[in-house]
């Protein structure tokens, strides 16, 4: 199985296959055998040179979160088909927050007619303002946030009923 993970600063290609009870991973040209099993509680037990390590994994959309010894690693698993698309916002009828931040202003209300590309929400993340635009033309069905509200990544902001 070929996988591509996106870490904070790079894309890492991983090839994973089963070998008996264990796995073989190919990362950056290196072949790594991995002795791992998942216990009944969902914890992954991995035998390493430093002894047995315990990790937990969870998924949300294309995010993969891994907990290891108090630290959380977050990777993205870009979908091959959508790889080039910006997943942050404006893919469909629901405009959602691309990253955690604060809603500076919602520029539309329910019932408003909007055009594709029209700016609907101004967000502030890490002290920078970003404009989020509608991906499709249509009618605003619902506004899920208010000015000043703090949102987290993936929170829906505005739902649009696409026009004909």
């Amino acid at each position: 199985m070929h996988l591509k993970f996106r870490t904070a600063d790079q894309d890492v290609k991983v090839d994973v296959r089963r070998k008996g009870d264990d796995w073989v991973l190919e990362m950056e040209g290196q072949e790594i055998p991995l002795e791992a099993e998942q216990d009944r509680s969902g914890c992954w037990l991995v035998d390493t040179h430093q002894g047995r390590r315990r990790l937990w994994v969870a998924a949300r959309g294309d995010e993969r979160h891994v907990f290891c010894d108090g630290k959380v690693h977050t990777f993205r698993l870009p979908d091959a088909e959508h790889e080039d698309e910006e997943t942050a916002a404006g893919e469909g009828p629901v405009l959602s927050a691309g990253m955690p931040g604060k809603v500076v202003r919602v520029l539309v209300g329910p019932g408003a007619e909007v055009q594709a590309g029209q700016v609907l929400v101004i967000m502030e993340s890490m002290k920078m303002e970003t404009e989020l635009a509608a991906a499709v033309a249509g009618t605003v069905e619902a506004v899920h946030v208010a000015d000043g509200q703090v949102v987290t990544q993936g929170d829906p902001l505005v739902t649009i009923t696409p026009g004909d």
Binding site: G42, R60, R64, G70
Partner: protein
């Protein structure tokens, strides 16, 4: 003085949410007392609402429309025949008019009298009251007015300054924002500093009155748990050191304090009991002190409620403070005398916050996709959330507390670190890695704590992004390979028929609870 007959409580309404509501409900269950939870619309399925015998929805998510509405809470209490209300901490816990409204409605408020809440809530009045009771406060004094040219009488100023003690802070008496403030290390600079501060204060506030206050260098925050009943008994349950704070928010608390000698503990404990006695305190309370490096201690304030960090006291003293709160509210006498109370071992509490320490400690919101709480001897979890719960913007980002108990401080630190390394929370960011970094810091191990510890030792802290990243990637890849038949969540989740729907397996995994039904 004849005390009234004890009045048994049969049903407690818990006017709070989250871990503290769960904590109170647990104590009530052990005492065979019925429980009523109140909840906002978004909290209908919250842990506290489900753990209580009854739950009443009292309004929208905004605390001002629900948990902070005395009228709706009292209405819920009447509708469910609750005869007592436990306020927890925060929300209405230190609201004197709420305590009074309970009394007037014939419902027992589990806490001190409204008068005591009021008098301790007003900080300058509290300070004066404590001074009269012989509890030390930070020394300070007003300077006499300067003459027309802005000069102070030097002999008098030097005398007052010497009484206050060096180092001291020269402050504008009617000001703020640091204007007119000067730190003075010794008598040679005092006159210049006062004159300059006076000019600045005149310019900024139109009033040049100057106040001198002893400057406590690198102070520790050491507080004493106190308890009183309605029979005139007052005791303390020793101290908690809460110096590890970020922007005045406590993060790690422990008991005993590594700074206290038995002699100092004795003196501070006596002062704390004097404070409790001065207001004939009833129920659980906390007397907070600043402790200087020289062992001088000064009254800061009195919290008229159960504290977040009460578990460390319970662990080292072998008590149940919530149970005792309820017994005292019923009119019973304290179950302990001062002589019977003692400290066994060492306890440390770590507050788990849903926030991102690497991103300005911004609250982290969303669904808790995965939660693994550590277990084992000497490990206590007080949690208000479960896997699948949503962390919302409306409430405090503290989702749980991890408390550990061990024989010695360094064993307690080891135990806390090991437990945190098993405290997996995925879906929202938490401060778990930051807590480990604090506990593993050499200065923490040495017990060299003060309220500026975090800015001094861990400024702009960031975790090492590379640590174990390859291992994490490898396991993420293996989990991917194994999904959906158990790659995520519980090991046996989902049908293992190999019909992996490669397109959207994740949506179906998030909420898997029951297994093996198909």
């Amino acid at each position: 003085m004849s005390a009234p007959e004890p009045q048994p409580i049969s049903r407690v309404l818990v006017a709070n949410r989250g871990e503290i509501a769960c904590r109170v409900i647990r104590a009530c269950r052990e005492m065979n007392i019925g429980t009523v939870a109140v909840c906002s619309h978004v909290d209908r399925d919250a842990l506290h609402a489900q753990q209580a015998d009854l739950s009443v929805t009292i309004g929208p998510a905004e605390p001002g429309e629900s948990y902070l509405r005395p009228d709706r809470i009292l209405e819920a209490a009447k509708a469910t025949d609750a005869d007592a209300i436990h306020p927890g901490y925060g929300f209405l816990a230190e609201n004197a008019s709420f305590a009074r409204a309970c009394e007037e409605a014939g419902i027992i408020f589990i806490g001190p009298s409204p008068e005591v809440i009021e008098s301790m809530g007003e900080k300058t009045a509290a300070r004066r009251l404590m001074e009269e009771a012989g509890v030390p406060v930070v020394p300070g004094a007003l300077l006499p007015e300067p003459d027309a040219d802005g000069n102070f009488p030097s002999r008098e100023v030097e005398k007052i300054a010497a009484q206050v003690g060096y180092p001291l802070m020269v402050k504008a008496a009617f000001g703020g924002g640091g204007k007119g403030m000067r730190l003075v290390e010794g008598p040679e600079r005092i006159m210049d500093a006062c004159a300059a501060a006076c000019r600045e204060a005149m310019g900024a506030f139109g009033n040049g009155t100057i106040y001198l206050e002893r400057f406590i260098e690198r102070p520790r925050h050491v507080e004493f748990q106190i308890f009183g009943d309605s029979h005139g008994n007052h005791v303390h349950l020793f101290e908690r050191e809460c110096s590890i704070q970020r922007r005045h928010q406590k993060i790690i608390e422990e008991s005993p304090s590594p700074a206290l000698t038995p002699e100092l503990r004795e003196r501070m404990g006596r002062a704390a009991v004097a404070a409790a006695r001065a207001v004939d305190y009833r129920g659980a309370g906390t007397v907070e002190f600043l402790l200087g490096q020289d062992g001088g201690f000064y009254f800061l304030e009195m919290n008229t409620r159960l504290q977040v960090e009460h578990p460390v006291t319970e662990l080292v003293t072998g008590t149940d403070l919530v149970r005792t709160q309820i017994q005292v509210a019923e009119g019973r006498a304290l179950p302990w005398t001062q002589e019977k109370l003692s400290v066994q071992g060492h306890a440390i509490e770590c507050r788990i916050y849903a926030e991102d320490p690497e991103n300005g400690f911004m609250p982290s919101l969303g669904e808790i996709l995965l939660l693994n709480e550590p277990t084992g001897p000497g490990i206590r979890i007080d949690s208000g959330v479960r896997q699948g719960d949503e962390v919302s913007i409306y409430y405090d980002p503290m989702i749980a507390k991890l408390s550990v108990h061990a024989g010695k401080r360094r064993n307690a630190i080891d135990r806390a670190v090991a437990a945190l390394k098993m405290y997996a929370v995925l879906g929202v960011r938490t401060n778990v890695e930051y807590l480990i970094a604090i506990l593993q810091h050499g200065a923490f191990a040495d017990g060299e704590l003060h309220t500026g510890f975090l800015p001094e030792h861990l400024p702009d802290w960031r975790g090492d992004p590379g640590a174990d990243e390859d291992l994490a990637l490898a396991v993420a890849a293996v989990a991917e390979h194994e999904q959906p038949a158990g790659g995520f969540g519980t090991g046996s989740a989902g049908p293992a028929d190999g019909s992996a729907r490669r397109d959207t397996p994740w949506e179906s995994l998030g909420r898997f609870r029951l297994t093996g039904l198909e």
